[in-house]
Amino acid sequence: MPNTTYIALIPLLPLAGFLLLGIFGRTYFKNTSGMIGTSLLLASTLLSLYTAYGYFFDYGKVNGVYQKLVPLQITWLEFSKGVSIDMGIILDPISVMMLVVVTFISLMVHIYSLAYLKGEERFPTYYAFLGLFTFSMLGLVISSNIFQIYIFWELVGVSSFLLIGYYYDRPSAVAACKKAFIVTRFADAGFLIGILILSYYSGTLDFNTLIQKLTNPESLELKAAVTASFLGISALTWGLVLVFIGGAGKSAMFPLHIWLPDAMEGPTPVSALIHAATMVVAGVFLVARLFPIFALSAPAALELVGYVGAISALIAAVIACTQTDIKRVLAYSTMSQIGYMMFALGVSKYGGEDGLGYTASMFHLFTHAMFKALLFLGAGAVIHYIHSNEMKDMGGLRKYLPITHITFLIACLAIAGVPPFAGFFSKEEILLAAYHHNTGIYYLALITSGLTAFYMFRLYFSIFWNKPAQVHGEHHGEGGFAMMMPLVLLALGAAAAGFIPFGHFVSSDGNRLNSAFHLNFSIAPVALGLAGIFFAMWLYKKQNDRPDKIAASLNGLYKAAYRKFYIDELYLFVTKKILFNLVGRPAAWFDKNVVDGLVNATGNTTEYISETIKGLQSGKVQQYAMYFLVGVIGLAVLFIYIWKF
């Protein structure tokens, strides 16, 4: 293996950008910060492409199997012998793939933002945060140690928080960023405990060792982890489920998804980067990272992953059909697509053909990054033009935003699974995997896929068709080259990425996986997708009252879906009513009145006693003498009769 320590530069360059712009940006790089950030990231991107090339085509493969390489590892914090947080780089197909995805999308967003956020007061800060995010995300994907991943996991969370709260003076943005952070934080607590469990049983935090120890049926560690049980479930399963909770939080899986729609309060490019293409797939990535353990040692946990993914996919799709804020529609669609990836992992097995789900999941991750980023950036262009997120303010924009329109359409086709766009390929593989291993999930996925097509085209038609074209003032067109170039590049990706023979590179065990293309199998989902598209066209291509009628006829369901199945309210109830009112308030009350009260009571009692016995000191000298005599007699009696020696 050649010297690959330069890989460390990939995350470090954005970090440098963050520090540089964060500390000096406001004073020195007021206008140039965007360029600085972008160029640093460009370097990063090139480096990761180079790395990917090197890994996939040069040194990564040994004896036909892609290896897990650790070119760099330093001990960062040693807890005890063997248990240490190491900062390292791991190179394996998924991390390399993620490197490329993250840097590429991030680069696109950087470029796009140059125009999108031009003239903003906190422009340097924005680029600093982007740098921080990119650094964290890259650090996350190359983590060689489970604690390292947790560290970057948290960093990703915080940069997401910062970016969502970028418009800090909007109360809704503040609320959204808090919500995002707290919900993911809650999930992270699970992750943390999961890490603790896994590390305790395996005695290590290092991924390679961990996986090795917990997948080898002979190892004592695995035996211990499997035999130890709590509530009838083995410790290992608990650990993995808890880790998955962490992943589910970040990946907005049901029921921890509530933060994602709100997170759309951030600038649209940020949504594209974080809440569509990269960060939200971290959960998928995490499960993929630990996939051998899931698949080999704790199938029950993996099954849970599958069901959670499928349910999330369906629910999100249903909700997406009813939302009117275009970014929210996209957000739910993201959730739905990530659900796909999750259940794809959930239905997968380790190794060989059975590992199709794994490959498919990664493949979908890859393609999804392209078209979802594209969708968001396109939506951004629309919003940039309209200054509104609401569908009702839009319509007929295809004339004014031609490039946006085309690229958006490509993305919609891709996500709807229309061949030959990228989404088609990855989705087919997923459905295939599900079909083979869990038909229940398969049918759920099928419905979802139809719904996906429907709501995407509902979106598409509402924006670009529906109403007659309106002139929106004296407008600045589509936002120039900086905004259009990413759209075009991503559209190319969304159109063509499906043709990459993904299984050759990424598979559960590193072996080459040839994905066969089953034409017959594809008919059902494609048909369903097309049906969805046409239904959407029927409803939304022209302005009419059909949608309202349908909505009215489905009153209850529609309302429930529109209100996101009241999950937010449920959370609100739990936090406000239970945590705040039933725990926090009593705790504060208890502290103030009981604990503190006791302290004060001690003082008051002392004073009270002091007041009560003041009569002893009556000022009467005769009484003093009497006490004197009583004291004498008392002492004498005590020591003569009672306390004898």
Binding site: V621, Y627, F628, G631, I640
Partner: protein, 465 residues
Amino acid sequence: MNELLTIMKSEWVISLLIFLLLFIKLGKGMKNESLLLLIQVLLLLNFIGGFFFNTEGSLFAGMYHSTALIILQKNILSLGVYLISLLFADWFKRSEHLTEYFILMLSALLGMFFLISSGNLLMFFLALELATIPVAAMANFDLGKKISSEAAMKMILSSAFSSGILLFGISLVYGATGTINFAELPAQMNNGPLHILAFVFLFTAFAFKLSVVPFHLWTADVYEGAPMATTSFLSVLSKGAVAFIFISTLNKVFLPMQEIWYNMVMILSILTMIIGNLFALRQQNIKRFLAFSSIAQVGFILVGVSGKEPESTASVVFFILVYLFSNLAAFGVAGIISAMTGKENVNDYKGLYQTNPFLSWVLALALFSLAGIPPTAGFFGKLFLLTAGGTKASYLFITIAALNMIVSLYYYLRVIRAVFMDKNEEPVEKLVVNPSARLGLLICGAGILLTGILSWVYDYIQSLC
């Protein structure tokens, strides 16, 4: 005869001073200022002289004895008198009976010297009276004030009563053992009921002088009514002298009754600390406040007393020294303020720091020392008392003592708070402190700061025990 001079040197010196003052009084030629200065110089010389030409030994067939420790104790008392002469200069200067006051004070001091040197019960009794009766007269020296006479009356009657009890006890001891010599008594004492009874009578007389609860009730009234100088004399010197003889008597004469007095001391110590603290909590008058606080301090002294020799003696002597500095400083400040403004209430001290930072700092130091806060000497004093007590005591006892320190801190802080924190529209005006009083306060302050940290002070005391 030479021996008589050298061994009893300190007593001779004091007697000489008394007579000198008498002559001066008869001569009637001096103004108060110069007279006071003369007295101060004489007392300083007396204190310094106390360190030289000392001979240990015993006289009058053991009736009087002197050891290095006793000499040290006497020096401590001399120092106290000297400081009092400095601190209350304002009051003295205005006094019509300056000479008489000092004659009485020196007589009382002489009584204390004899007291701690006494070798038999007769000497003990006489010296105790000599150390008490003049003080009662001294308490009345604010002649125009009713409370001063009231205080003196309470003091003389109470002490007469306690003398009666003491004498009854002595008579029983005498009857039971046939001797009044300290040297012969231990062989005769035992834990028989009559002995216990006699011992209790004796013990309570000590307790009375030390203001141990429940024999303490005279203390606060007398302290409040008496002139500040008398109060400080009473609270520091009388208490100190009695504590010195108390601990040596317990450990030498009543050694056979060790268990009994140990438990007695323990019970009374706990009572004293608690009651003293509880009463101190709600006092408004600074003298009364200091009176109760000094009662609580006695409780701590008793903790030290209850310990094993020689640690107990060393710690008690050390504590008395520290206590002398601290209490005199506190009384000194209170005395200056009282003499100049007539204000004696804690509330009057509000905002004192704004006008009189020097007095405030000295007062604060003194109170911290009394509360046992490092780095003041009081910290070491209290800690050594507790440690000495720990040589024998139970955890419970020490814990109670330690917890009482919190209560005492509370009320000391009350004064600190008034001085430093509370706002006051009309604080005590800026006072011009008499130079000698300033000197006295500085000495006290230095004593408070240095006595503890310079460990050789304690080690010296320990080496003598």
